[in-house]
Point group: C2
Chain length 237, copies 2
Amino acid sequence: MPTSRSAKASRADVAQQILEQATRLFAAHGFSGVSLADIAKSVGIRKPSLLYHFQSKDTLRRSVLEEILAHWNETLPQLLMAASTGSEQFDTVLSTTVRFFADDPDRARLILRELLDRPEEMQPLIEAHVRPWVGIVADYIRRGQEAGRVRAEVDPRAYVGHMTVLVLGSMATYEAVGSLGPELEVQESSAQLLERQTAELLRIAKVSLFRPRPVADSTTHSQRNQDFGPERPESDD
Amino acid sequence: MPTSRSAKASRADVAQQILEQATRLFAAHGFSGVSLADIAKSVGIRKPSLLYHFQSKDTLRRSVLEEILAHWNETLPQLLMAASTGSEQFDTVLSTTVRFFADDPDRARLILRELLDRPEEMQPLIEAHVRPWVGIVADYIRRGQEAGRVRAEVDPRAYVGHMTVLVLGSMATYEAVGSLGPELEVQESSAQLLERQTAELLRIAKVSLFRPRPVADSTTHSQRNQDFGPERPESDD
DNA sequence: AGAGGTGCCTACCACTCGGTAGAAAGTCTT
DNA sequence: AAGACTTTCTACCGAGTGGTAGGCACCTCT
């Protein structure tokens, strides 16, 4: 076993570079649209060197996917522990999910591609990595429905499914979709575009979940949020 | 030029079969995940015969895409003419879009893949085929905002973009996403699953657009739609 | 110094890819 | 029946694919 990692490009370092480039290229062109030589070239090595670190192309694909899911499993539970109330937990899951994919849209592209290419293989991964917090959100929604805060017609699990797809799809295609966006003449930066998309996703997710607050009358066209529910833990009936 | 089409498998017939199988296979495995031999085999011919009908693999890809867009351009304007009021037009565009992809989820998969694989190439196609009715919807939303019917914070074009992605993504991955759905023990048929998805998409699209109707108080948990706006053409302020 | 391991390389393999050449088979017109 | 045209076929091509064999430089430990 190696004892010191002083010299340049230790093993883990190269493997990490390969993973990064593979993620980028698979996300952009799909698994079968990228050759091992392409990936090796973008790392600056030859194909057999790549196969020294990952036994096969399929191993590399699985590693890329696992890295994303591992990162996900590191991120969410940690933030979730800080949230005590159900309302905070819901907010955490929602905004963390959106930001996780906004931080690196390649993640969304890659998972979306896997969902399209290998739905049967993704099914158990969804079970393992998504179910737990689907449970948290679903429970919160159910309690919200009992309290009258959440729209009765919402099916908790179906809601989570649709929001997941909305986030994945929006982030995966944010350039093409964003170009439909507001009629700005000025060019928006990618960061700005992503920020706007993120805010809008959160809005849609909340508004399609929570019942509107009962407001006496709405004669003014004020921009006040009428049904952003989770900031108000106690329902009023 | 051919004068009679009596015999079996006229030219157009074979070309149509090729298009259908190519659509199916490209949707399932992606453009680079399918070989011309695969497509030819599923039609029951050899590869050179396929290349007799379509000069190259890329020609075939473009033809598949064009066929879908052509079908789309046949469907929508026709239904749109029947709709007189802005509210009806909005409803038509929304439900037609959802049903167009629910009718054949392969359409959604294929377009989503193109969006991922070739965003630059898709941009002008989006311009040409999506802009017109984005305009209709955006105008309707803007008028709705002036009348106070539509949430002021909605950006019309961004809204259309997100709804498009939501529909595409939901239909493209409806099996995987639907499996997260309600906790039914009974197996749901694909048709039922798609029907449920369709209804939920329409719900989300409307609820995230229209302002809730002012209701005096909501002490009962009635399932009455509180903010399905478009059935009520005149606003009340 | 030298043994052993690590990481990368060149060279090569069998196979598949999209695409072409050109002959054979069918079909229609006269 | 004969010619002309359309459609399909077999055979083949060069390029590129994932993957292997084996050597070579380098580092570390004894």
